[in-house]
Amino acid sequence: MLGKLIKNDFIASAHSMLGIYLATLAVGVVTAITYAFESPAIIQGIVTVALLILSFAILIIPIFQLLSYFNKSLYSNQGYLSYTLPVKSRNLLFSKAVVSFSWITLSYAFYIGIYTFIIKYFFAKMDPAILEQLETIYDMIDTLPDKSVIFKVIAVVLLLAFVEILVLVSQIFFSITLSNIKPLNQLGGAGGVILFVAIFLAMFTAFINLTQYFPLSLYVTSSKVMLVDNAMYGTSGTLIGIAGIIFQVICTVAMFIGTNYLMKKKINIK
């Protein structure tokens, strides 16, 4: 049943999600053509700006669409169908989490792809020094004595990105579900947004404080990944607070469990 839920959630959410990806792809292709045929600079500029705007939209719009899809499919009239399917509430939740996670990951991938394209073909054309800098980075990677480090760095960055996406998904699901329960449901549609902002800010503040007061961190540079004390490092690489990450993971698990509990015990479909 879980597989069928995921399949149907993908089909349902695709109706609102595919438009933005197709639009971005179309503009991307047009942009590539203008560069390939060396169109006038003004045309290249216009399509590149359009692609740039779409790249921002592709990060933001899917989040709102997933927020809307989650709310509609569970807490509007469609909830009459979702909640009468012979499936456990945790499967309903898991399926929507998988689908949301996948779409947001795809959005990030599109965003990175677009920027790589723009930097390589547009900014580098405007300023050849950028292309030289890119080539320097490639050369640096080539000359690394142990190339496995670069994969470790990529793995850590990807893992952290996945954690952040899961945190975001759990915050959205928990806020919306909580806003559909008395007395918070009296706030209407704004309730979910207010709760989301409140939870996001509270978690962000806790994350900053934990990172500051529990100094164990992951130190990531292009050549190494290691556990360090904050006081000793932090000038030439990126420090990722371990305490903050652990806190986020615990909160994410708690919010998924909480959402499932509310769906199972407290939700009254109107």
Binding site: K72, Y80, T84, K265, K266, N268
Partner: protein, 247 residues
């Protein structure tokens, strides 16, 4: 193989068993210590005026409301995965997503309900003159209701719960809906049909349950009620006139 005694026990086990059920919305108590046990294989009328608690009871039976007190069993199970697998529910509201076309809705039901008969659904879709590929958002309310009715009646469910299927439709449509229900429900199953339009449907009921002010005011077989020549509508008027006076 079950013995005759065991088979008799299985047959007579209540399809709906509710004990001391209470539900309130804030200070508004919609169900107050309701207890009722309904035998399978009947068409049961769940009758009462608007706002009497019929829909709340139905939502509890179908698992749409979970914060209540009391004991509720459907086919021997608390509302959950096992009960939902045997209950075909037609709510008052249209629950299909805007993008869904009849063929999508049929495939969706076919995915999730083991008792769904896809061939029957496709045949009913043609019979109802529903275009296979028209999106729900462009359909009229009547077309959407027809689509939901065919989805529910294409299941071979043990219990059909139909919440006000005749509300807000003209007499011709009422007749069409009733005929569809009567021609398509599985004969060994139970139908719980809620309505406040008794005149149109009383002929089909084997049993009626009248709810008012959150309590069961009458729980009786129609044969007994009609024994002295009264109609269900007459009984309804008597019961609710009395109920409004004491409340």
């Amino acid at each position: 193989m079950a013995s005759i005694v065991e088979m008799d026990e299985i047959y007579s086990a209540p399809i709906i068993d509710v004990k001391n059920l209470s539900k309130s919305y804030g200070k508004n108590q919609v169900l107050n210590n309701v207890s009722v046990s309904l035998k399978p294989g009947q068409i049961i009328g769940l009758l009462g005026p608007n706002g009497c608690g019929k829909t709340s009871l139905i939502k509890i039976l179908t698992g749409l409301i979970n914060d209540y007190s009391g004991d509720v069993k459907v086919n021997g199970y608390k509302p959950g995965v096992e009960s939902k697998a045997v209950v075909a529910y037609l709510p008052e509201k249209t629950y299909l997503a805007d993008w869904m076309r009849p063929i999508d809705a049929i495939n969706y039901f076919d995915d999730f309900f083991a008792d769904f008969d896809k061939e029957k659904a496709l045949a009913m879709m043609q019979h109802f003159n529903l275009p296979m590929k028209q999106k729900a958002k462009t359909m009229s309310k009547g077309m959407q209701e027809k689509l939901q009715l065919l989805l529910v009646m294409s299941r071979k469910a043990k219990l059909y719960i139909l919440d006000e299927p005749l509300g807000g439709v003209d007499p011709a449509a009422r007749s069409f809906i009733l005929d569809t229900i009567m021609q398509n429900y599985s004969k060994n199953s139970t139908v719980l049909l809620s309505t406040h339009l008794i005149h149109d449907v009383e002929r089909i009921f084997d049993h009626v349950l009248m709810i008012g002010k959150g309590q069961v005011l009458l729980d009786e077989d129609t044969d007994k009620l009609k024994a002295d020549g009264r109609t269900i509508e007459d009984v309804f008027k008597e019961v609710f006139h009395f109920a409004w006076e004491v409340n």
